[in-house]
Symmetry: C2
Subunit: 402 residues, 2 copies
């Protein structure tokens, strides 16, 4: 029997999805599972996107242009211009989700064995994309005590070698929800220019920013024309995760043309998703105002309830719809599995994502979890009550076992 | 300015799509361009697939399971069983087009630097996928004089080294339309087992087989349980290229689980496409009978007209909707560009795909083109008339230039 590849062996199972069998078992026993482990919003997709699909009028579902449907690219370019991102229709490439945009960027810009610096904790699937591209991730650790702020410049400089080719950030961050300040972004810009690196910025949570603040795109940083690749996606913006539509944006013509060759190889992004996405661009600002206010209220409520649980520590995130909390347990993954396998409070339990999968430094985040506030306030309240009782029960169980 | 990756530099522009700017220019001058270069069928998508999309009733477009929607996998499994392919719902992975299935297979089974043997000419994008995966393609040349039959066993054995990890075939073949016989497939099986290799079989044109013959799947070959990965797609079957829905099938549990990790990293295949694909499975046999009879009649007509043009040689393909023809020119790419840039017959011209992009052996196929018979008989007739006049005019132009 022929053997599996080394990359295949090294690919991690998703830390977000690997507890799914335990949750399925809990549900099949009749328990309610509050699912805070995954960023699948419960927010409705804008009606005009759904209507565009329902009135799809072509009789052949054809390939689109490899870079995406022209009219969609034109309108999407206008959306970016409105966001202070000076990107023309020929400087953006429609991709199959943000995932594909990251892969295209890595494949086009980094060689096998090159190093990619990422502040950790970071979106766990970056590890999978790096393995796919044969790239080595070099982490710079952000700390819960600092609310996961950008580590200082010298922490980056200490990690830069002859192999360093790029820095990847996610702003606002999945999993921490941290929103970078202008000053932090300017620091990143200086490092990138000083060492002639690429900067990859995952800005898919751009719209989800709280406390009246405004998201600053890396495109607003001066002098990065040849260095910057921005990754985008409509999955969260319009609650259309299943449409699998993202985008790659760059002003670097050589990077664009190279990414386009990878795009041509897979022929085209999904046609239906593009049709829905094009229509979704007409979504009124009132939709986002409502959604942002809903998430902000959920965030306040969840973080407040979390910090009321003895021994739990959770910073207040500035954006996205995630937060990373420290729990009073030794090993958060063991606790998460126990919650699904063994625990019930009024026949309910909670599913969380162990945070260790969002770090690459060994033993980091071992007592942390990521929570997505993608359930309404009432459910969040019940979930936090469950979690509080679960933590208490778990400590007693551990005590008895000793 | 940071540099592009080596893989990015090596990625070829699509030989199928790289003449597009010339065709656009011709059209903008008001010329009719008969497009035989690309496998975009003019056949209608089955109505029930379109209706499923128009009655999409969910209010949130959610991620699906990373392996694909469960109900779709169950029904798709039944379709395969019906085709003598014993594949259960947990032995198939829904992918974003057949393209992604090939990438998953290469990434999961081959290391950087491993060798993949492919009979050439082959689907040009295999080169792009091999570069992406860091795999070296080793060609075994099939010849137009033999109708592009499978090269003899010793031609394969001569290419096998310690680095050889897999053989990839496409049956029926894009670009040649060749349909492998049972005897040829058994020969491949013997090589695969003797050298403990993977066999990747791209069977996306399974339904398009002519002259009353039947397609034989590699799953019908005994003893390949641990060796075989089949790539599939609905793009051509239901004329749904833009849906971007394919599948990867394997009975090798380790390969399946490894591919699933790559699938989890990109979260899920497109939801809309899966909904349309699930509905399309109910397409009655009469649809295929009509489509196959239409293609067969086009094939007969086109190959007949091609062979009537002085100096043109074209075998009769047994399947798919492509054929590779030899033209009486030195360089087919120069001729194809000339046809778009310089030539008109009654204000019409023809767009073909130069075949050299489907070979990796230097100078092979330099006077060959691939033609897709994706236009109706009337248009094919006009296109062949155009081509005949074009070839005649081209020879005069070259003669004058000498």
């Amino acid at each position: 029997m022929p053997s599996i590849s080394n990359k295949g062996l090294r690919m991690p199972a998703s830390p977000i999805r690997r507890l799914v069998p335990y949750a399925e078992a809990a549900r099949s026993q009749g328990r309610t599972v509050y699912q805070l482990n995954i960023g699948q919003p419960d927010i409705q997709t804008p009606d005009l996107a759904l209507r565009a699909i329902k009135s799809f009028s072509q009789s052949i579902i054809e390939y689109s242009h490899s870079a995406g449907i022209t009219s969609y690219r034109q309108k999407l370019s206008a959306y970016y211009q409105h966001m202070n991102m000076p990107i023309g229709p020929d400087q953006l490439l429609i991709t199959t989700g943000g995932s594909e945009a990251i892969l295209f960027a890595l494949m086009s810009c980094l060689n096998e064995g090159d190093e990619l610096i990422i502040p950790e904790p970071f979106y766990a699937n970056y590890i999978s994309f790096a393995i796919t591209a044969g790239v080595n991730i070099v982490p710079v650790t952000a700390h819960i005590e600092d609310g996961f702020a950008l580590p200082p410049m010298d922490a980056f400089e200490a990690k830069i070698t002859a192999k360093t080719k790029a820095i990847l950030i996610c702003n606002p961050s999945n999993p921490t929800g941290y929103l970078y300040t202008k000053e932090e972004l300017m620091r990143l810009r200086d490092i990138v220019l000083k060492h002639d690196l690429f900067l990859f910025a995952d800005e898919v949570y751009r719209e989800f920013v709280y406390d009246g603040k405004k998201h600053m795109s890396t495109f607003e940083l001066p002098g990065l024309e040849n260095h910057l690749v921005v990754v985008d996606s409509i999955s969260k913006r319009y609650s259309m995760c299943g449409a699998r539509i993202g985008a790659l944006l760059t002003q670097n013509e050589e990077v664009y043309q190279t990414c386009l060759k990878f795009a041509q190889a897979r022929l085209s992004p999904p046609t239906f998703g593009q049709v829905a996405a094009e229509a979704a661009l007409e979504t009124p600002q009132s939709y986002f105002n409502e959604v942002v206010s809903e998430y902000e209220s959920r965030r306040n409520h969840m973080v407040d309830l979390l910090n009321q649980i003895p021994g739990v520590q959770c910073p207040l995130p500035g954006g996205a719809f995630y937060t990373v909390a420290r729990l009073p347990v030794k090993n958060a993954e063991d606790f998460c599995i126990w919650m699904l396998k063994e625990f019930a409070f009024h026949n309910q339990t909670v599913m969380l994502a162990p945070a260790s999968g969002f770090y690459v430094t060994p033993d980091m985040g071992i007592n942390e979890v990521r929570l997505a506030y993608v359930l309404n306030r009432e459910k969040i309240e019940k979930a936090m009550e469950c979690l509080a009782h679960g933590l208490e029960a778990y400590q007693q169980v551990l005590h008895l076992a000793e």
